[in-house]
Symmetry: C2
C-alpha cells in the first residue's frame, strides 16, 4: 500500500493497535521501546529498536531504519526530533509535539488560536508567595499542574485553599508548574480529529469520557448530550487541531461546563491515537489507528470514514484495569455485542491498562444495559482503582414523538395519547402549536421536526382543524390527525377537515376524539423500524394487544357465568 | 485468557487472521510454515517452526511446542496427527480431517448423516472403460474429481461428453478419482458453522458465493435468496457439521439447484476458517477467527456472536487477486464502508489471493452500489483471472409495502398508490383480501405480514369497509385505510367505517378515494427509519414535495401572466 517504513516511538497498547492496522494495509512498522513491549509482540516483520523513546541516541537509531516517524506518546525529546527532521519525515511535526508536551505552552497556543481554555498562569517560582498571589487572583480551588510529563492525573494538584499550598509544592516539587482557574464541569467530552498533510481536519463523533482516579474508565460514543453540544465540540476540536503542524490523529479533551449554557472549554490535546478513540475499531467505518496511518502516508480518507457505522450505532468502551482484567474479559465474551482487546502485558498492577472492551448496540440505552454487568464487575474489584465513583447511566433521551394540539382546550382529548406513550416508555414532547394563531411557530416546528429526530407527529385539532394538514405540508414525517369534537356538528367538521386532504399531502386520520389510537399508530411506526428500539416497541405492542384480548376474555367469562341480566357495564 | 499455546498448521492468510484474533485475547500461537509466511509476520511472541504442514517431522516438532493444534488447511498427514493425539489436543479431531480431506469419503460420510449430496461413485481404475460406464450411468456432463489435494478448482474436470474422457484422464492422471453426477445450480451458498467441544453447532448467516475460474471472487452476506432458503441452508450445514468430531469453525458450501423447488445439495466442507467467512470480521459481532479460537479453547460463545451486527447489515467481500490488488485496495480506501485486509504476500502472481476487502452497508442494494466500481476495477485486470464472467447484481427485493383491497372493483381507486410506490422504486405487493368473502385469508395475511417484512399495509375498501380495521386487529404494522366511494352515500359510509375504530386498534385513514396519499403516508413511514433506505426514501419524498411546489408555481405564473379570463383549468 505504501512501501515506506513507519517508525513508532513507543510500543504500548496504542502502538500495538497501530501495528495491527498497519498489517492490514501491508504497511511496515518499526518500534522503539523495551523488548517484548505490546506492539513488538505482534510484529515479526523487522528487527525493532530496543530502548526508550526518551533517549536521543535510540531515536537517531530508529530514524536510520525508517522513512516516517510517528508517536504513541508525546513525552519525547523534541531537540533530537528537530535534528533528524528532513532525514526522516516526522508526522505530526516536532513543533506540534514541542508545544503540546508543555501544557502551559499548549494552553497558550490553543487560546491564541481562538479556542476557549481555562485561564492559566505560569508559576515563575515554586514558592508559597507566588501561589498565594495566584490564589488571590483565581480564588480557591485552583489547579496546580506540572507543565511537562503529566498524564493520567499524575502531575496535577487541586489547591482547595491557601493552607494546602505547602502540600501542593511538596507534591510537585522540582517540576515546572503552572496554575489554572477552576473549571466547574458536568461532563468531560472528547473528539478524535484527523489532520491531513494539507491541514484539513476530519473528526470522529463527540464522545463522553468518565474518569476515575484521573484514569479514563468509560467512553460513551456518541456523548449523551444534545446534538448541538456535540457539533460545537467537534467544531472546537477541529479548530484547535487545525492550528498545529503535520498529519495524524489528535485526541482532544473538553469540559462541558455547569454554567447553564452548555459552554465548552478545551482541556487538553494529544498528538496521537487516544484512549477515548478505542471505540472506533468496532463502531466506526475506519478506526482511529488506520485513520492515523492513512493521514501520515497520504492514503485516501473520506469524511464518511469517521462516521459511526450506522446513524443509530452506539458504543461504550470500558478500560480493563489491574488484576481483574481476565475475569471481566471472559464475562465480556458472553455479552452480546462486546469485543475484547487485550494488550499482551504481563504484570497486572492495580490501575494498569491491561486491555479494553467495547460494547456496540443499536441504541445507547441498549449499550448501557449490556455493559452494566461488566462495569459492576470492574467496580467490585477494589484493587483496579478506588474509591469507586457511581456510574452515571442517565441518558437524556430526545423525544421521538411529538404530540401537538391547536389549543389547550384540546388537552383532555389528547391526554390519552400522552398516557399511552408514557406507558410504553417512549420519549415524547407535548405542546401547543396553532395553525391559525401561531402560524410561524407551526412552520418552524414542522420544518425542524426531522432534524430533531421525531419519528411521527400526532396533531389534534377541532372545527376547521388545519393543524394536521399544515404540519404535513411542512415536513415528510408521518402526521397523525386526531379530530377533536367541538360544541356543534359532533366532530364531523374536524374529521372532514383533517381526513379530506388533497393528493400529495397525506394525514393519517383516526376516529373522532380517539387520541389513544393516534398514539398506538405512532408506536406502530416506531415498531416498523429494524432496530433494537423497533423490536422493543413491537414486543410491547404485542403485549398490549394480548392484554386487550385478555380483558375482553374476562368480560366474556363474567357475562357467561353471571348471566346477561345481572351484567353491569363498567365505564 | 487461556494460557495454553495454540499450534497452527499453515501460516497463510487464514492463519494470519487467526493470529490477529488470538493477539486480541492474549492467546499465544505458534505457526508451522515457511519462514516469513503471512501468519508469522504478525507474531513475534514465540519462535515458530520452519517447514511444511505436509511433513510428519515438522508436525511432531510443533506438537512439542504447544498444547492444542489446529489447522488452516486440511491437506495434512493424518497418520502423524493420530500419533500425536493425546500428547497434544487436536481441534477439530484428526478423524474429521481424515474424512474431509478425501472428498469421496467426505461425501459418503455426509450422505450417511442424512444430508443430500450429489450422487458420487469411486473410480476404481483410471481407465476409459470405467469412465464410460459412469457416463452411461450418470449421463453427460458429469464431474470427475480428485479425491485428495483438490482446492480452488484444481483437481476437477467437467466431462462434457464421452469424447472428453481421454483428456480428463490425462489432466488428472496418477490421482485417486471419483465421479459426481452433474448438479445444475443457480447459485452457490455457504454457511460458517461453529462446533463446540460438546458437539453443539452455532451458525453464521447463509451467504452467497460467486466463483470465477473456480476461485472464490465475491461473497454476499446474507445470500440474496428467500429467508426460507437461507434457513434451510443453515440447518443443512449444522446437520452436516454435527456429524464430525471435535471443535472449531467449518466452512460448508452448498448448491441451490435450478429444479424450481429451491432444493439444496451440500457441495463440500472445510474443517477450518474459510474464505466465505472473511466478511464476519466487519459484519458480525464476532469474527469466524475469534469464534474458532473460542470454540477450541472452550471460551464462551453466544448464538448472538454469529449474528450480523444489526438486522439490516449487509456485506460484500471481494477477493483481491493478482497484480492489481494494491490499485483496488487504494480505491477501496476511498469507498464508504469498505475495509481492506492485505496479507503481506510478496509475489502477486495472477489469481493469487493477495488480500480481500469487505464493504458493509445498511442494505444489500447499498452494498452492491458501493462495491460495483471495485468489482469493475478487478474485472478490468485481465491478469487477475480470465475470462471474466459478468457480475450478477440482481437482488430479489422482498416487498416492503402491501396494497390490499376488498374487491377487484376497487383497483381503479387503488392504482394511484401502486403508481406512486413504483415511481419511488419501493418494492410492494398488490392483491385482493376480502374481510367478508375471504376471512381466513385475511387473518393469515395480516398475521404473516410482520414476518414477511412489510413496513406498512395499505387497505382500500368501500361500504361497510371492514378490511383496514380487521387487518389492523391482526397485526402491529401500521395500517393505512383508503375509503372507496361506492354508488351511494358518496363514500361517507366507507370513511366512517374505516376511521371510527375503537380505542386500541388504530387505522390511519386518508381521504375518500385518495390512495395517492395512502402511498405517500406509507413512504413517510419508511422514511422515518434510520437506515440507508429510510434516508433514500426521505430524499425522494423531499423531491416529490419540491416538484409539487414547482408545479403550483408554474400555474401561478400562467395565471398571473395569462390572466384569469383566459386561464384553462387542466384536469
Amino acid at each position: 500500500m505504501d512501501s515506506r517504513k513507519i517508525g513508532i516511538l513507543g510500543g504500548g497498547q496504542l502502538g500495538r493497535m497501530l501495528v495491527e492496522a498497519a498489517h492490514r494495509l501491508n504497511i511496515k512498522t518499526v518500534i522503539l521501546d523495551a523488548d517484548n513491549s505490546p506492539a513488538k509482540q505482534i510484529n515479526a516483520l523487522h528487527p525493532h529498536i530496543t530502548g526508550s523513546f526518551a533517549s536521543a541516541d535510540h531515536i537517531r537509531e530508529l530514524a536510520k531504519e525508517c522513512d516516517i516517524i510517528t508517536y504513541e506518546i508525546e513525552h519525547i525529546d523534541t531537540k533530537v526530533l528537530e535534528e533528524i527532521d528532513g532525514q526522516v519525515e516526522l508526522q505530526p511535526s516536532w513543533r506540534t509535539v514541542r508545544v503540546i508536551q508543555d501544557k502551559f505552552l499548549q494552553k497558550s497556543h490553543i487560546s491564541e488560536a481562538g479556542v476557549p481554555v481555562a485561564e492559566s498562569i505560569s508559576v515563575e517560582q515554586n514558592t508559597p508567595e507566588s501561589l498565594q498571589k495566584i490564589g488571590a487572583k483565581f480564588g480557591y480551588p485552583f489547579m496546580l499542574k506540572s507543565r511537562t510529563l503529566a498524564y493520567d492525573g499524575r502531575g496535577n494538584f487541586v489547591v482547595s485553599n491557601a493552607e494546602k499550598i505547602p502540600e501542593a509544592l511538596e507534591a510537585l516539587k522540582n517540576r515546572p508548574l503552572y496554575a489554572e482557574r477552576w473549571a466547574p464541569f458536568v461532563k468531560e467530552l472528547a473528539v478524535m480529529v484527523v489532520r491531513t498533510k494539507d491541514g484539513k481536519c476530519v473528526s470522529y463523533p463527540t464522545v463522553e469520557t468518565v474518569h476515575e482516579n484521573n484514569i479514563c474508565k468509560l467512553v460513551y460514543a456518541p456523548a449523551r448530550v444534545p446534538d448541538g453540544v456535540r457539533e460545537r465540540a467537534r467544531a472546537m476540536a477541529e479548530k484547535a487541531v487545525a492550528s498545529f503542524w503535520g498529519a495524524g490523529v489528535f485526541g482532544v479533551e473538553m469540559f462541558l461546563l455547569s454554567d447553564g449554557q452548555c459552554s465548552l472549554l478545551l482541556n487538553e490535546l494529544a498528538p496521537r491515537p487516544h484512549n477515548s478513540g478505542h471505540y472506533t475499531i468496532e463502531a466506526c467505518a475506519t478506526s482511529q489507528y488506520e485513520a492515523h496511518l492513512r493521514a501520515i502516508t497520504d492514503l485516501p480518507l473520506l469524511p464518511a470514514s469517521t462516521l459511526l457505522s450506522t446513524p443509530s450505532t452506539s458504543a461504550i468502551m470500558l478500560n480493563l484495569l489491574g488484576p481483574s482484567y481476565t475475569d471481566i474479559a471472559k464475562k465480556a465474551l458472553a455479552t452480546p455485542g462486546a469485543t475484547v482487546h487485550l494488550y499482551g502485558k504481563h504484570e497486572a498492577k492495580p490501575g494498569r491498562k491491561m486491555g479494553h472492551l467495547t460494547v456496540v448496540a443499536g441504541s445507547m440505552s441498549e449499550a448501557e444495559y449490556r455493559v452494566a454487568p461488566l462495569v459492576a464487575l470492574a467496580d467490585a474489584d477494589k484493587t483496579a482503582a478506588s474509591p469507586v465513583a457511581p456510574l452515571n447511566t442517565t441518558t437524556p433521551d430526545h423525544p421521538l414523538i411529538a404530540v401537538i394540539m391547536g389549543s389547550d382546550s384540546d388537552l383532555p382529548v389528547m391526554k390519552p395519547a400522552a398516557q399511552i406513550l408514557k406507558s410504553f416508555d417512549v420519549p415524547f414532547e407535548l405542546t401547543i402549536v396553532s395553525a391559525h394563531r401561531t402560524p410561524h411557530r407551526l412552520v418552524r416546528y414542522a420544518e425542524e421536526a426531522q432534524a430533531r429526530g421525531f419519528k411521527a407527529i400526532i396533531a389534534g385539532a377541532g372545527g376547521a382543524a388545519h393543524l394536521p394538514g399544515m404540519t404535513a405540508a411542512h415536513c415528510t414525517i408521518p402526521v397523525i390527525g386526531v379530530p377533536v369534537k367541538g360544541s356543534v356538528l359532533d366532530g364531523v367538521d374536524s374529521l372532514h377537515s383533517i381526513v379530506q386532504m388533497p393528493r400529495g399531502i397525506p394525514v393519517a386520520t383516526v376516529a373522532i376524539n380517539n387520541s389513544t389510537n393516534a398514539a398506538l399508530l405512532a408506536l406502530r411506526v416506531l415498531a416498523a423500524e429494524d432496530s433494537e428500539l423497533g423490536h422493543e416497541v413491537r414486543r410491547k405492542l404485542e403485549k398490549y394487544t394480548d392484554d386487550m384480548e385478555k380483558e375482553v376474555q374476562g368480560k366474556i367469562e363474567r357475562l357467561e357465568t353471571g348471566g346477561w341480566e345481572d351484567y353491569v357495564v363498567k365505564k
